[in-house]
Subunit: 347 residues, 2 copies
Amino acid sequence: MGMDERKFRILQAIIDDYILTAVPVGSRTISKKYDMGLSSATIRNEMSDLEELGYLDQPHVSAGRIPSAKAYRLYVDQLLQLGTIRSDSEEAVRAFFGGRVRQMEEVIDRAAQVLSSLTHYTAVVLSPSGPKLHIRNIQLVSTSPETALVVIVTDGGVVRDSVVRVPAGIDPDTLYDISRSLTEAVAGCTLEEACERMPILIARMGENAAVLQSVNSLMGEARDAGPQSHVSVGGASNMLAYPEYSDTEKARNFLSLLETRDRLASIVAQQGEMAFTVRIGPETGVPEMSECSIVTATYSTRTGRQGTIGVIGPTRMQYSRVLSILGTMGEQLSEIFGSGGSPTERK
Amino acid sequence: MGMDERKFRILQAIIDDYILTAVPVGSRTISKKYDMGLSSATIRNEMSDLEELGYLDQPHVSAGRIPSAKAYRLYVDQLLQLGTIRSDSEEAVRAFFGGRVRQMEEVIDRAAQVLSSLTHYTAVVLSPSGPKLHIRNIQLVSTSPETALVVIVTDGGVVRDSVVRVPAGIDPDTLYDISRSLTEAVAGCTLEEACERMPILIARMGENAAVLQSVNSLMGEARDAGPQSHVSVGGASNMLAYPEYSDTEKARNFLSLLETRDRLASIVAQQGEMAFTVRIGPETGVPEMSECSIVTATYSTRTGRQGTIGVIGPTRMQYSRVLSILGTMGEQLSEIFGSGGSPTERK
DNA sequence: GTTAGCACTCTCGGTCGTTGAGTGCTAACC
DNA sequence: GGTTAGCACTCAACGACCGAGAGTGCTAAC
């Protein structure tokens, strides 16, 4: 017993219907709503076969069938292969980004909002992270008589800015001089290398060593923090609208997972080179998400760093719609971050 | 029929019990669990009076009573008057802030997390906002051959940093010179005044006018953005644990309110001079929150700007606990932001 | 003023048919 | 041999019903 053309068409119809209604679908429904020119009895036989093949599950004897994870997998593989992702949502995405936005974090937050409101699922956007960063510039900016702002610029944008104490009443020009020699000393280094060199510089500096000391500890933090990425979530409440989450306990677990950003980031972060990733149910590897699917795409910045955008929804997600929207959103973000001198990348 | 001492004690007992159990409390429960030396019948009579006075509600005839908003109001007024807020949570709060944190937003996010996990309710933290900002320093930092980072420092900290295009290959020292003359020209001004002066400066500048133009539009944005505060929410999922929100529809409305940050901020933002604000049920003025209470406190920064921290929970909230925790958290934040040269304020 | 007693009310949780959707199987049909 | 009509069977969902229990209000006695 193989998987012939007809079985596939029936399976497709079942998935489509279930995605729409979230109700187990019976043989009569298929034969009536989707005119296949077959009676319910025939469909029934085929469905029985499909169940045996592992594509359908049956909640109980006298309910209809629901698609299994395996079925969804087949479905999206088909979708991805065909490359049939129409970008009918392009304009909607564009419209949302209407106003110029500047700050990296604003863009990320916005993207999460847009994604969730277009898909009606929960969206997660990760800020770009990438290979080791090389220092390009270090600058001290006076903020008050006793404090200064340290800005470390790398080829990935601004990595770290923070306030440090400086000797009271220090001259802004002196700060600039320190910045210059500092920049000369460590430009082109990675953060690691720079941290190693700092002790030598500090020793050589003399009177303003204290300032460098502060800068040093800051660089240490930046190095240890690693690819410390910003995570933005949108439309968490959307999930509650689906019957899958009418059980409060489940909803709670899901939401609290969304709140532990570190864990969430590591779950969503997409590995590999593919344009899209689809993980269905158990494939997510997260117990709390065994009834969810995660679809992700990537975008990239002009400096070659990569970010991830993702949508989390019930396994009966509207995959083709979501893939399409993620596609345009990815392009859009790449465009925004790619164009010469726009948003600040930070952290 | 007045509100005598005994009635008050009984009301207190009812409130305490209901806060704990969320179940309508009956006369027998009170006479047994809280030994008042009175029989259930007497309690019953008093309860009947309390209901007439508007302090108790009755879901239906043969259920116990639940406290009304008016009762909670009396209760917390008592609490606030007595000033009996013990800071037994001080150490817990301190412990959570163990590691030094630097960035303003990190502190805010952290505070929201800590608040929610200590109270088991939902926490909202608003970044400080305050009176008009005066410019202290403007600096251009080279980030790539064609781009530079603009940092505008005000007496409230760093307000705005963003990347602008600059003529290709411009010398870092030239950038510094521009920064210097710019700073000289507008230091001490408010953002509004600075925006007005810019056209003159641009005209005078000559060859690098384009750079100033970019800075100008950036200042315009900063001015228009206003007190654009950062809002951080923690423990949104906590609310789902309470029977009040076992209805998914309610939970959804609540969560989606939390997601519209602008609206949320305007709801939570505390007006007035008081140390604490407690709004109970309908007092919140938000339909979605007619079954919630909002408790807020303030903290302040060294520059005199004020931020708000708040906890949102069911009306049967553990007010005294929450007030205590909010109190210590407020002090703690004031300390962190007050101490000389710590976290960057931004936005 | 307090308390015991009692009738009354109303929710909650369980049981029990009934209903209807859906299946699987068999036998007839093309 | 595949397709279809028919039929018996299963089982969740729904509503009605009922008893238990919690709680009240009222009255009368202390």
